[in-house]
């Protein structure tokens, strides 16, 4: 009998949509599909950590509602004004947002967690600001790792970990499948969130968002395409589809987001199960 195939989950960058991971987790558990490790990037790292610690779906939903509220953007408007009138001072440790609100919310959930305490191997991906390199975090404080991975450039201040100034993992790899592969995964269930494109541009911000989406979507496809060819592991992409736009603070949509995650997971289930059966 051949050895059991190792299964890894990769939860990519996607903001509030990453809550869909709770739906994926539900489906896998209900099918008794055992996950051996989990990797997260940006918003995905928050849910990957919760999965790694076997947090019940109900709690994931509740914490999502608490987290994705507009107060995490405090200070943004003032900073923008200052940038327009020339009074804003900005260096590599700066961000337009005052991160004290977000930091507290993250601390409330992950503050006491260490990587070694979690029930499953867990890794987080961030990007080094100075060199653009992808950085994998797998030790020490879970809060530090998630905070670094979530540091959307310019919006949130970068976060220093082990002497390196880190920003959003998505800037180097929005769906870090290779980290799971390096851990010896045979089967990778990768939940990614391509960004929606705009149909209209009514402001500079709209243009900036579109250009950001263009970049993220292209690097997402680029890295997926590369890992797909470079490794032998079977990769199952779980890409939830949403009925309409889901904005960053649409907490009322969270139950629906989770359902869409479950739905996307169910679509891949027959293929995953067939592969496991053929083992």
């Amino acid at each position: 009998m051949s050895p059991k195939k190792r299964i890894s989950l990769v939860i990519g960058s996607g903001g509030i949509k990453c809550a869909a991971a709770a739906g994926l987790w539900r489906v896998l558990k209900s099918e008794n599909i055992e996950v051996d490790s989990v990797v997260g990037c940006s918003g995905g790292s928050m849910y990957a950590a919760l999965i790694a610690n076997h947090v019940p779906e109900k709690d994931m939903e509740e914490w999502s509602r608490k987290l994705w509220t507009s107060d995490i953007m405090q200070g943004y408007t003032e900073s923008l004004k200052a940038s327009k009138d020339g009074s804003l001072r900005f260096n590599e440790r700066s961000g337009l947002v005052d991160d004290s609100v977000m930091n507290k919310k993250l601390q409330d959930i992950y503050g006491a967690w260490e990587f070694s305490d979690l029930k499953m191997p867990f890794k987080v991906v961030a990007t080094e600001l100075q060199t653009g390199e992808k950085v994998t975090l797998s030790e020490g404080s879970v809060f530090d790792a998630i905070r670094a991975s979530l540091a959307i450039p310019i919006i949130f201040p970068p976060w220093e970990v082990d002497g390196r100034l880190l920003i959003d993992g998505a800037a180097s790899d929005p769906l870090p499948i290779d980290v799971a592969i390096q851990d010896g995964a045979d089967i990778i269930i990768a939940m990614g969130f391509p960004l929606d494109y705009r149909a209209r541009f009514r402001s500079m911000t709209a243009v900036q968002e579109q250009l950001n989406s263009i970049y993220i979507n292209n690097i997402l496809t680029s890295t997926y395409a590369f890992y797909n060819l470079a490794h032998h592991a079977e990769i199952f992409p779980v890409i939830p589809e949403f009925d309409g736009p889901v904005s960053m603070f649409d907490v009322d949509k969270i139950p629906d987001v989770i359902e869409q995650g479950a739905e996307a997971a169910r679509k891949q289930l027959p293929h995953i199960k067939r592969l496991l059966a053929d083992g």
């Binding site: 496809t221 680029s222 997926y224 395409a225 590369f226 797909n228 060819l229 032998h232 592991a233 079977e234 990769i235 199952f236 992409p237 890409i239 293929h271 067939r274 592969l275 053929d278």
Partner: protein, 111 residues
């Protein structure tokens, strides 16, 4: 996985039916290898009967595509179903392959 082939204007049209995954992909590769061996290097794959491709399936397919190209030919795709299209786009295949809406335009592209 069922594979049928026919010749159209000097081009070999291969129709595939079923899923292209780790199990069935070798059959596809062997088939293409045989075609290339016979000197048929201008290939069109009609995927209208393909409902699913796995990542392993894509890898194996690419191997076959490379084989036709190294002999001066190509493998062009048509009849791509929505779910397969999503995977092809995600895997970068849409950028390195020629895709067509129907068999006729795929065949015509070789002239």
């Amino acid at each position: 996985m069922e594979i049928k082939d026919r010749a159209v204007d000097g081009v070999t049209v291969i129709s595939l039916m079923g899923s292209i995954d780790a199990m069935s992909a070798p059959k596809v590769t062997d088939f293409i290898h045989e075609q290339v061996g016979k000197g048929n290097t201008k290939l069109v794959a009609d995927l209208s009967g393909v409902d699913y491709t796995s990542s392993a399936g894509l890898r194996v397919m690419l191997g076959a595509i490379k084989e036709t190209r190294s002999q001066g030919g190509d493998l062009r795709l048509t009849g791509i179903q929505p779910d397969v299209s999503k995977v092809l786009n995600l895997s970068g295949f849409a950028n390195i392959l020629k895709l067509f809406d129907d068999v006729d335009s795929a065949v015509a592209s070789y002239s």
